[in-house]
Amino acid sequence: MRVLESVMDPEVPVLNVVELGIVRDVELLENGARVTVTPTYSGCPAMAVIERDIAQALRDHGVGRVEVRTRYTPAWTTDWIPAEAREKLRAYGIAPPGPAEHDAPVQLGRRRPAVRCPFCGSSHTTLESEFGSTACKSIHVCDDCRQPFEEFKPI
């Protein structure tokens, strides 16, 4: 686990794969290790890189055979990201995710709970788009400090 905490997300390099909730299980085998991962977004191109980095990090620490397995259930959710990791995101300039909605009916044109600006802390912010530079982020603008910023969107 300690080794895996050195494997960072290639797109959000302040979070490691354990904090992101991608690593679900690690089993030590006689001559190696088996790591179980849960993918974030279905189409996230970073997942292949993450799996490769996990295997590489373990091999660099003398683990002979590394097997990376994928588990789909339960589906990954941003609710798994712990408080310290959320603070790291904010300090990096990405607003941390609010609670995921899961099964509530989809509402159109609703006023979403304000996302706090990670730079000045203001709640006067406007959502520009729910789709951003990577699958996991949305785009906002702060109405007070005028800084555009991204949110790690809740899912």
Partner: protein, 251 residues
């Protein structure tokens, strides 16, 4: 022949998403504004991601040593099992949004029910599809409201798109023996049961956008049996050209 049925059903699910994902990706660099370009590309990526997971599962069940890439890039149109709705050309922005709204609403209902599938892998993929489809429904639904209540031109274009596409929506809810055999084993969702909630949700949003629901009784069909429009062949020619000309090419 349960394995055969399962592969057939997984191909239907996967091909809908692969073909629609490719159609959406055609907007990349061409969308009306930058944020929309990014949004459509993101949704395309989600759909192709779903297709990849489903094709991987189909390839595994099939056991013919074909992987997801072989299923995507080396099958001919007649072997594709997607519905006709998703293969139609991307049209103008109103056509793309109307189709996206119809399909996402259907996909959210489908993935919701499919989370209870007796196959853990399929149920897990459905759970992911469900989470991501929520964003797709909200994105396209809000555009329906915006275009319907926007200018005369945006309203007319959206109404024309809805009129043109409506006759392709019936196929989403057709079911056959393959599906019914799987439904009885909890390996598929009975698509016919999704029609009523789909209509009520879609008509509610169209009504709020001031768009009339077309009065069309006759519905197009054929995609699930490999009988496609001429558009799919052209699309596959472009999508598959690299693997056809340079078999096994990789980055």
């Amino acid at each position: 022949m349960s394995a055969h049925d399962e592969v057939e059903y997984l191909l239907r699910l996967a091909d809908d998403r692969l073909v629609l994902g490719h159609r959406l990706s055609e907007w990349c660099g061409h969308a009306p504004i930058l944020e929309e370009d990014i949004a459509l590309a993101n949704i395309a990526l989600d759909l192709i991601g779903h297709a990849n997971l489903l094709l991987t599962l189909a390839a595994d069940k099939e056991g013919k040593r074909r992987d997801a890439d072989a299923l995507a890039f080396l099958r001919d149109g007649i072997d594709y099992r997607n519905c006709l709705l998703v293969e139609l050309p991307k049209g103008d922005f109103a056509v793309t949004i109307a189709r996206q709204f119809f399909f996402s609403t259907y996909s959210l209902l489908l993935s919701d029910a499919l989370r209870q599938a007796a196959n853990d892998d399929l149920a897990g993929i459905a759970a992911k599809m469900h989470k991501e489809s929520r964003y797709h429904v909200r994105h396209s639904g809000e555009w329906v409201l915006r275009l319907g209540g926007g200018t005369d031109e945006s309203h007319e274009r959206l109404q024309a798109a809805v009129n043109d596409l409506w006759r392709y929506t019936g196929e989403l809810f057709l079911t056959d023996d393959v599906e019914q055999r799987l439904v009885s084993q909890r390996l598929a969702v009975d698509a016919s049961a999704l029609e009523t909630p789909w209509k009520s949700q879609v008509m509610d949003v169209l009504g709020r956008a001031g768009i009339a629901t077309p009065d069309v009784a006759w519905m197009q069909r054929g995609g699930r049996l490999g009988k496609h429009t001429e558009h799919l062949g052209h699309m596959l020619a472009e999508m598959q050209v690299l693997q056809r000309q340079h078999p096994g090419a990789s980055w």
